[in-house]
């Protein structure tokens, strides 16, 4: 192996993420082993406690529940959403209620259909399974949204769950369910859509609560152990970030270098203090209006 491999340019961006990933994986797996021997504590998450409340409300009202798996394909995010959906479906089966599960990916449909069938069998009610309760609507974003809005409106659902990958259609779905008076629980790792869900839904699962959901709902040792392992990993990241900040500040204090000289990307931000995009000083509004009039008159 040539000596040039062992330079900081190679080691830091290439090896460090891999070492951290290995460390986190070992931590998560070790916690899973611990959880198989003793019960681990999970704090209360209001959004997830509301899952049973939403199912109960739908049962009392005698109206169905909709569960949207979003636009995601067969990936980690959507598989987690499906795991939550199966919990909701199993709870609903016990109460004799109906859950309409919708998705925008046909590959996912095949898996979801099988998982829902298994859920009905596991609850001892295989005859209650209906093919029409697992629906592939469309693989196009707004075709899926309009079909889902149609399902929500026609069925006048009592509860609406939205878990998975969502984009601009998130608010359309949430507002449609709000219009029929449905209680809504939503969760997505798509951070740009979280504000829309917070604004429109009764309960929103934020950030890594999304991946904590199945552990919280089922309390299975493998899942709770994995959750505790995630928390340890986050602690390591937090300590690394704080140490990095302290080291960065101390280094610049000792070497007497200006702190922000290294942060060139901050200087290149689109909006600079008191200047417009061309780097010229910003005009006041009256000055701007005057400029428009002058340019218009030319």
């Amino acid at each position: 192996m040539p000596n040039s491999v062992w330079t900081a340019d190679y080691l830091v961006p290439y090896l460090l993420p891999r070492v951290l990933l290995l460390l986190f994986s070992v931590l998560i797996l070790s916690r899973i082993l611990v959880a198989r021997r003793r019960r681990l504590f999970i704090r209360r998450i209001p959004g997830l406690t509301a899952v049973d409340e939403a199912v109960g409300r739908a049962t009392e009202m005698g109206r169905p529940i909709t569960f949207s798996l979003g636009l995601g394909a067969l990936d980690i995010i959507t598989l987690q959403a499906l795991a939550i959906a199966i919990h909701v479906i199993r709870t609903s089966i016990r109460f004799g209620n109906r859950v309409i599960l919708t998705m925008a990916d046909s590959t996912l449909y095949a898996v979801a259909d099988e998982a829902v069938r298994d859920a009905y069998t596991a609850e001892g009610r295989p005859e209650s399974y209906q093919v029409e309760d697992v629906r592939f609507l469309s693989d196009r974003q707004f075709a899926y949204a309009s079909a889902m809005v149609g399902v929500i409106s026609r069925e006048r659902v009592a509860s609406n769950f939205m878990f998975g990958t969502f984009y601009a259609e998130s608010l359309i779905l949430a507002e449609a369910a709000n219009q029929v008076g449905a209680i809504q629980v939503a969760g997505t790792p798509t951070t740009t859509q979280i504000p829309f869900f917070i604004a429109a839904c009764d309960y929103t699962i934020i950030g890594d609560e999304y991946y904590a959901a199945t552990a919280y709902l089922t309390r299975e040792p493998v899942l709770t152990g994995s959750l505790v392992g995630q928390d340890y990993s986050k602690m390591i990241l937090l300590v690394t970030a704080v140490l990095g900040l302290l080291f960065f500040t101390a280094w610049h204090a000792v070497t007497r270098q200006p702190v922000f000289s290294d942060l060139a990307h901050v200087q290149q931000s689109p909006v600079k203090m008191g200047t417009d995009a061309d780097g010229k000083p910003r005009l006041s509004v009256p000055q701007q209006v005057e400029k428009w009039f002058k340019e218009g008159s030319k």
Binding site: L29, Y109, A122, F142, S146, I172, A200, A212, S226
Partner: protein, 308 residues
């Protein structure tokens, strides 16, 4: 590797038939495997498929190199998912047809929409398949003539590739030609109808944002008040009327950071950004844990029945 452009219609049909037959044989064999055997098969295949990506990620890439011995093979393995997706697409279509057929058969409320679904499903399928039919079932590309092309109302000749147009002795397309305005059935249905319907759905979002924001900004707690104040600062920082509020502050002076446009930028980049990153870190580690559980088949209940 197959080059479909060099195959004629008969060869494409033969390859397709052999592939489908092979898949059916594999499916039939799997059908007779006992349930426990199927479980071990799934666990083994999941582990092997995941192992490829794990080795691909951890195997060292020398400085300056694009990849290692496994990089190219990983891409080929990834294409298997597209093949599976092709099969499952039929399942999706079956599900749609089943639901809408029952709506019509039982004349459920709004069954007319299901009739519209069937009309456009058939129209779109015919328009798209007929348009491409000569590519898959015509002669090899080198022997293609204008006589093999579908009628003009199915395939606007202006949409053909320049090389193919020369080969078929067709006049060049107009310089300002846009495929969205092609004069054939597919373009009418897709660009003329569907894309506009999609834009209509998207535009509804503007009204929903207002109604959702109205509900969210009702001050019911300290957190809601903080959110509303922050939102007002950010919105004011984006519009001239908001910027006019702090025009008195010199843009070049020491207090320029208090100008509303600068302050809102500070809120976004200094206050908001670390929170976003913290959420992303949590999500990343959550995804890692989920991936580990699926790779090692540790998930119970959801995908493997009650017992893992």
């Amino acid at each position: 590797m197959f080059n479909f452009a060099q195959l004629n219609g008969g060869q494409v049909l033969l390859y397709s038939a052999v592939s489908i037959l092979a898949c059916l044989v594999i499916l039939a064999v799997l059908h007779f495997v006992p349930r426990q055997g199927k479980k071990y098969l799934i666990v083994g295949l999941t582990f092997l498929a995941g192992l490829v990506y794990v080795v691909d990620f951890f195997w060292p890439v020398m400085p300056g190199a694009e990849g290692h011995w496994l990089t190219e093979k990983t891409e080929i393995i990834g294409q298997a998912l597209q093949v599976i997706a092709g099969f499952t697409f039929l399942l999706g279509i079956y599900n749609l047809v089943h639901i809408h057929f029952n709506n019509v058969r039982r004349t459920r409320p709004n069954w007319g929409f299901s009739v519209i679904f069937f009309v456009f499903f058939v129209l779109m399928t015919v328009a798209a398949f007929w348009r491409e039919w000569y590519v898959w079932f015509g002669p090899a590309a080198a022997q293609l003539t204008a006589g093999h092309l579908p009628p003009e109302f199915i395939l606007d000749r202006n949409t053909l590739e320049p090389g193919l147009r020369t080969q078929l002795n067709l006049p060049p397309a107009p310089a300002n030609f846009d495929p969205r305005y092609a004069n054939d059935l597919y373009s009418y249905l897709f660009y003329g109808l569907y894309v506009n319907l999609e834009a209509t759905m998207f535009s509804i979002l503007a009204f929903y944002i207002v109604s959702a924001a109205y509900r969210a900004f009702r001050i019911r707690s300290a957190e809601a008040a903080l959110m509303m104040i922050t939102a007002i600062i950010l919105m004011a920082g984006q519009v001239p009327l908001g910027m006019a509020l702090t025009n008195a502050i010199d843009p070049q002076g020491p207090m320029s950071g208090l100008r509303i446009e600068n302050f809102s930028y500070w809120v976004l980049s200094v206050v908001n950004m670390p929170v976003q990153r913290a959420i992303d870190f949590g999500l990343g580690i959550g995804a890692l844990a989920m991936a580990l559980r699926i790779w090692l088949s540790l998930e119970r209940g959801t995908y493997f029945g009650e017992e893992a």
